[in-house]
């Protein structure tokens, strides 16, 4: 019976509506053939055209000028992480400029081996002067300086190299501008010992990265202290039933939404004005934003709990606080921990950016490197941020999985 009915309805015969009624375009065609939709399309295109103009879209420039970014990208690929360990030794030999007779060469021993010889001494301004380093460390960087009797040093030669035997000889005419008097010729020899160590940049960035992680931690912690109690007042299932309850619920939810909607960067700028540049401004910016974000998540997780235990605990004659402690809290604690973990993770990411506007942390050194066009150094900070963010993301995911 039922089957026959079905067949009859599906068939085109027997009092079926006019087939013309079904004869309209289907699929994408149906959308365009309507006049109203056509109008929508016109308005949409106009909006895109205006947007194109005001945002100064210029894809040609994007492609043509791409090579300009080459320095940045090559810099990013060569982060300043390690440097060779160098041993520096310095030695001075006296030199008398001006004076009477040609004298003896002046010789000094170099700590760690070798000698520095300056000849002749005294020397006349404009005359030939020979500086000889012998038996020092091989293949080392060498700087030669002329130091006058008040201690002012001026360079003679920079970034010279000793040869494989540790020898170096320089003969040059002493400029006539050098006035007569007693001088010292100083040789600075820097040798790479072959060992590597972390560069100054890396250590600074690492230090600031740790600061960033703890900045996020403190921000999350203070926000936790405020948002957990508030979240109970912002949970519909706990607050319903009385006018006062609803009022509190709406006020708390409104507060969460307002706090959540203020961008942390703006908060950081404001806080930097209030408490001064530095990490604490960043902490406060994170606290304010996170109260809203965490409070909302907590409230929603309270709203999603099983109402059964609440009913059961209420039926025993327990008061409101006891119901929260014995029926609500045990159900939400794992989720609260998980959300807090997640928020910390987000806040680490946020605090890298907060540093850019003076909120302390690694962003603060990053923006300095960028402003000085030190791309290798900037790369160090960027890579470090990337690694830490990925690691935190992974760790928080693993921990959250265990909790819930």
């Amino acid at each position: 019976m039922a089957q026959t009915d079905l067949v009859r309805t599906a068939g085109a015969s027997q009092g079926a509506p006019d087939p013309a009624a079904f004869r309209r375009a289907v699929g994408p065609g149906a959308f365009i053939t309507s006049w109203r939709n056509f109008l929508f399309i016109i308005v949409g295109l106009a909006a895109l055209a205006y947007g194109w103009r005001v945002t100064q879209v210029d894809f040609v420039s994007l492609v043509v000028n791409l090579p300009k970014s080459e320095r940045i990208f090559t810099g990013l690929l060569q982060p300043d992480v390690v440097a060779r360990v160098t041993e520096t030794s310095s030695v001075q030999a006296p030199l008398q400029v001006g004076g009477v007779a040609a004298g003896q060469p002046s010789t000094s021993g170099i700590p760690g081996g070798g000698t520095l010889t300056v000849s002749p001494s005294p020397v006349q301004p404009g005359a030939q002067l020979t500086i000889e380093v012998s038996g020092a460390r091989a293949n080392s960087d060498l700087n030669l300086l002329l130091v006058d009797n008040v201690g002012t040093a001026r360079p003679i030669r920079r970034n010279e190299k000793t040869d494989a035997g540790g020898n170096y000889t320089l003969s040059f005419a002493l400029p006539t501008s050098v006035s007569t008097g007693g001088y010292q010729v100083r040789a600075e020899i820097a040798t790479a010992t072959g060992a590597w160590r972390f560069s100054e940049t890396f250590l600074t960035a690492l230090d600031k990265m740790v600061e960033t992680i703890f900045l996020a931690l403190m921000g999350t912690f203070f926000a936790l202290l405020v948002s957990v109690p508030l979240s109970f007042l912002g949970a519909r299932n706990l607050m319903q039933g009385s006018t006062l309850g609803w009022t509190v619920y709406y006020c708390v939810r409104m507060l969460f939404n307002v706090l959540r909607s203020i961008e942390t960067l703006i908060l950081a700028v404001v806080m930097a004005v209030v408490v001064g540049l530095g990490p604490f401004a960043g902490v406060m910016a994170i606290v304010i934003h996170s109260i809203g974000a965490m409070g909302k998540l907590y409230s929603e997780s309270i709203e999603s709990i099983d109402p059964g235990p609440i009913e059961a605990i209420m039926a025993t004659g327990a008061n409101r606080l006891q119901v929260v402690l014995y029926a609500v809290l045990p159900q939400v604690v794992p989720q609260f921990l998980s959300f807090t973990m997640y928020r910390w993770d987000i806040n680490v990411r946020l605090s890298t950016v907060i540093g850019l506007v003076g909120g302390g942390g690694i962003g603060y050194v990053l923006i300095q490197y960028i402003n000085l066009l030190q791309w290798n150094q900037a790369a160090t900070a960027l890579w470090l941020i990337g690694i830490v963010v990925i690691a935190m993301d992974y760790a928080s995911a693993v921990i959250r999985e265990k909790l819930v």
Binding site: D306, T316, A318, Q322, L325, Y326, A327, P330, Q331
Partner: protein, 252 residues
């Protein structure tokens, strides 16, 4: 003795769940309420301890008018009314012991319960009640590690902690298999017979009502359509309660 007078509950959507019911339950009775889903059984039960606020009508437990109590007095009155549920309503992440002790929350000082401490006597009593429902060895296990029947027994132990004079059971065996159903019903029967606790129990299965009830009432669309002994429900009455097409399913 429980007296219900002209009790009506209309939900905000306009659905009348309980329609002008009057009922007297003498002490020591094992009253089973039967009826289709949506006939108002659960609402009637929840109106008694005011988990659901009645729209109109009055309820007395002995000489206390439950429907007239202020919140603090209501909490006091609830201590005398135990309740168990279809979904057991244990706090799943808490231990069995904590769940059972929760039955004392109305009686311990709020400060003590705040730090999770109960009087020593309560621990002993909780253990005794777990022994009574046959699962003392589960005391330190998490509640969600127990089977459905065991969880319902924990719920009974929790309700017994209140030392109630009235026990409300909202479809206590609807989520359980037939064998477990009987074991749970037997515990309810035992506390009814031995402790003299009045039991009001919602049930789906008429066979269980016949086996355990001393009195049966049947609800249909929020009204009482039968009130009498379990044996009096014959084929004709059954059809009147459950509808013309209904066929009785036995649970043995």
């Amino acid at each position: 003795m429980l007296r219900i007078q002209n009790l009506t509950k209309v939900f905000p959507g306009g659905v009348t769940a309980v329609d002008n019911i009057s009922l007297t339950v003498p002490d020591g009775e094992f009253l089973v309420i039967i009826g289709l889903s949506g006939s108002g059984k659960s609402t009637l039960l929840r109106c008694i301890n005011r988990l659901v606020e009645p729209t109109s009508g009055r309820i007395w437990l002995d000489d206390v008018e439950l429907t007239a109590l202020a919140p603090a007095e209501l909490r006091e009155a609830r201590k005398r009314i135990g309740m168990i549920f279809q979904q057991f309503n244990l706090v799943k992440r808490s231990s069995v012991m904590t769940n059972v002790l929760a039955g004392r929350l109305g009686s311990v000082s709020p400060m003590q319960s705040l730090i999770g401490r109960f009087p020593r006597g309560d621990y002993d009593r909780a253990y005794a009640n777990l022994e009574r429902v046959g699962i003392p060895e589960k005391a330190n296990q998490r509640a969600d590690t127990l089977s459905g029947g065991q969880q319902q027994r924990v719920a009974i132990a929790r309700a017994l902690m209140q030392e109630p004079s009235l026990m409300l059971a909202d479809e206590p065996v609807a989520s359980l298999d037939p064998a477990t159903s009987h074991s749970v019903m037997k515990y309810l029967e035992e506390i009814n017979r031995q402790d003299g606790i009045t039991v009001i129990c919602n049930l789906h299965f008429l066979s269980l009502a016949r086996r355990y009830a001393t009195r049966v009432i049947a609800l249909k669309a929020g009204q009482i359509v039968f009130d009498g002994l379990p044996a009096e429900i014959d084929e004709e009455r059954f059809r009147a309660i459950y509808g013309e097409d209904a066929v009785e399913v036995e649970i043995r």
